[in-house]
Symmetry: C2
Subunit: 500 residues, 2 copies
């Protein structure tokens, strides 16, 4: 394929994407295909000869599109949003056009420096304490990771290395393996499954502490766990606080957890994957009160900030904590400077390779501007509030807990079985998509404003679908209560949540 054909193919793809988004309301959110549909539809072997791009695009439109779950449909209300915007897509075209690797400054200077610049921009927009920023006088800074999972693991490994070094300094006769086996990490039982996975991967026991009735991990719970563990000879090492839990978007009080961690030399990592973007609006910053106690902070612009996956923004107070953990060549490449101001980012992350991901963050921030981004957040939250009002206007429903950010959880008062049946039927009709969770032992349905295209008419549309289904369900209660069929294909937010 020469550059002329690329101009044609590429522009046709741009139109395909624009047409797809323009007509997305004409499609059901969920597809109707059966497992194995594509394995049957496509040839068993790769084509031997080159094919025409027009045939490829035709197959995309006719075959691929038939099996898509439309995450950017305005009626997709499941999980949390995955980011997407035209600005981000174009930013990534430019990234792929250059196709550079950015593992060191020299491997592509602008790839490193634009990451520094955009993470300074974003850190300031969020109101993060200055010491997290590369533009401060200290050794803090931001780095783009692939996901919040990765950031949690990076924090854990850095905390482990730092704790071991600190203890060995005090008592050089201690055994490193022995210290490592006694380290403990903590988070709440409302955490995302990725946090638990980080403990598994990083070989550190991860304790899931009981959240309070509002889903928040409290200071006294953490303090008690530290005390009990220390009494048994264990060493508290790492705490993951959640700003916006997966199930109900609850916020752990950093102002309670932070001082305890700081006093006891325990690394505090803040996972604000979804909700963190809201801090660009000053009216939500009270929810991160105490962030100055944290050692690391992570949010996913690829969730709620209109940036396409993957781009997770992580800031640390002291980048040398990462460099000391990940620089496997620190002894042998003394000539390569590992200054934190112009970083060699390969020492701030797990893999070696890295794309020029900051380009899409840059295009999004410029095309939207800070005002545009704030408006996006405020509109989405107001739509959630509108939905909550609709639900509350219907006596058969309960909104519980209080809506938080773009999430509204609700259930039918008649009971869990009816609520389950409601979700099952709606999912089978494929017009709107929500997933379940549990709250205080009750089965709840989570309704999230996900697509950037969602407007008030879409919310009304989704509510009407829910209400109509409730009308059918509530007149059939006698059957429903008797025996609810197995819910084989209903996803639950549990795939995000911890196992207990």
């Amino acid at each position: 394929m020469d550059s002329q054909q690329f101009r044609e193919f590429g522009k046709a793809a741009i139109d395909t994407v624009a047409d797809y988004m323009d007509s997305i309301r004409n499609r059901n959110v969920l597809s109707s295909v059966e497992p194995g549909f594509l394995l049957k539809a496509l040839p068993e072997d790769a084509p031997e000869q080159p094919e025409d791009w027009k045939d490829v695009l035709k197959d995309f439109n006719e075959t691929i599109l038939s099996g898509v779950t439309h995450w950017h449909s305005p009626r997709f209300h499941a999980f949390y949003p995955t980011g997407s915007s035209y600005a981000s897509i174009v930013g990534n075209i430019l990234c792929e056009g250059l196709g550079v690797m950015g593992f060191s400054w020299m491997s592509s200077p602008v790839c490193t420096e634009l990451e520094v610049v955009t993470l300074n921009w974003l850190g300031k927009l969020l109101g993060l304490p200055e010491e997290f920023l590369n533009c401060s006088s200290g050794s803090g800074g931001g780095v783009i990771q692939g996901s919040a999972s990765e950031a949690t693991l990076v924090g854990l490994l850095a905390a482990k290395e730092k704790t071991v070094r600190r203890l060995l300094k005090v008592n050089p006769s201690m055994d490193e393996g022995e210290i490592k086996s006694r380290l403990v990490a903590y988070t709440s039982d409302q955490c995302n499954s990725s946090v638990e996975k980080a403990g598994l991967l990083g070989s550190m026991q991860m304790k899931l502490l009981k959240a309070d009735a509002d889903g928040r991990l409290r200071g006294e719970t953490l303090k008690k766990a530290f005390d009990e563990d220390r009494a048994q000879g264990l060493i508290p090492c790492y705490v993951v606080a959640n700003l916006g839990t997966t199930g109900t978007c609850a916020f752990d009080p950093l102002y309670e957890l932070g001082p305890i961690c700081n006093e006891q030399n325990v690394w505090l990592h803040v996972d604000a994957a979804y909700a963190g973007t809201a801090f660009i609006c000053p009216e939500y910053r009270h929810l991160m009160k105490g962030v100055e106690f944290a050692d690391s902070f992570d949010l996913n612009p690829h969730k709620w900030m209109l940036v396409n996956f993957d781009l997770s923004a992580m800031w640390v107070k002291d980048a040398y904590d990462l460099i000391n953990t990940f620089d496997v060549q620190r002894i042998y490449l003394a000539d390569i400077k590992t200054d934190t101001k112009i970083p060699d980012y390969r020492h701030w992350q797990i893999p070696l390779g890295r794309r020029f991901r900051s380009l899409k963050l840059w295009t999004v921030m410029r095309i939207y501007g800070a005002e545009g981004l704030r408006e996006h957040i405020r509109v989405q939250i107001s739509l959630a509030q509108h939905f909550a009002k609709l639900v509350r206007s219907d006596d058969r429903f309960l909104v519980e807990p209080e809506p938080s950010m773009g999430l509204v959880c609700f259930r039918l008062k008649e009971g869990d079985n009816v609520t389950k049946r409601l979700l099952k039927n709606l999912t089978e009709k494929k017009e709107i998509y929500m997933v379940a969770a549990t709250y205080r032992g009750r089965y709840i349905i989570r309704f999230v404003i996900c697509s950037r295209l969602t407007n008030i008419d879409d919310v009304n549309y989704s509510w009407n679908k829910i209400k109509e289904e409730a009308n059918l369900i509530c007149s059939q209660n006698i059957h429903v209560k008797a025996n609810t069929p197995a819910l084989n294909h209903i996803e639950s937010v549990n795939i995000y949540e911890k196992s207990k």
Copy 2:
């Protein structure tokens, strides 16, 4: 930005990329910027108001492009190639346009199934044993990981879990922590730094065994290490064999390592990150003789198969080894089927989120066809052979070791200092880009055919630059030998290599 503006911005970006590639020979490979150039050039804060896309594109062309190291310049001969093609870029536009997550079948059926189909296609093209393929009768299959680093870590964690389970089954009274602390992984001292990092991350001692004079890890070396370690109560668990080492592209003999691993219940992972793509040409398959002994196999289409980063293709003989390692909810989500034929890929990998990466593999395989991909490999290897011939025609140079795939290593007979000076001067002139390595204790320069655009004229151009510089250097030897200045900004392939 509405869809009409996206059509304009997106198409302008397509033209920008095409223009960039069309004129790439007009630029130096290395940029002339100084550290901090972009921090000075860009504003300290994000724009408050939305900006026009034309201004963004203007800044891309005027500011961003000035700081790029041009990895796709036909005169870029450093490291190994990072993949790029028009077909891949367009595939990714479609991926981003849909913007779906594929953590389970239902989260986007086609995202899962196209991954199965394309990895069957690719596995067959490579001539992998059938048991690695999803389309076989067993429980083998392919999965897209982010990088070879990630695949190495996934293999290690699966090997650890499998070994612990096996030993506990035989002797349930053993302590799990105790077993884990005695597990050992092995690779050669020619391995990529990411292999060593996998040991650090996965908390398993990684022994770097001495390669033979040709850079290959031999069976007898491995056997001896196993025996010595078992005698000390350690448990051999995981071996990473390299097909195409980073420094000199040497191939470990799988037919020697494999039977030893199989006999001793040790997981054999094959890292064929760069060179593995060559196996689509039958004439190179003898280099993977013994692959049937492997438990897992990984190659990076994002290196040599024209696919943009990131897309690492990993196959395992038994996918349940991954599922048993990564499915943190296996007990609680019994209703979600974890069959290996229609996989829930989140259980085959470290993160939860996953993009629709198979789309770009699909577009590349269709637009090139198997024949087009083979031709790409054969042309690149023949260009490397042409370069080797040019170097050998000049008495001042030595080619050493034998060229392998697209890599030719060479040095000046006069000695390491002169060779170093040659590379330093060429790097300062920025017209061509190569990096150094060591071979049998000597400083060598690695010349790799990287860009898909490189043709015979480009190779002649690069060779002429090298020869001209040698002409200057070799008449200045007396100065050179006296005192070579510090080589502050010469990258070495060491950033890929192990630390010892």
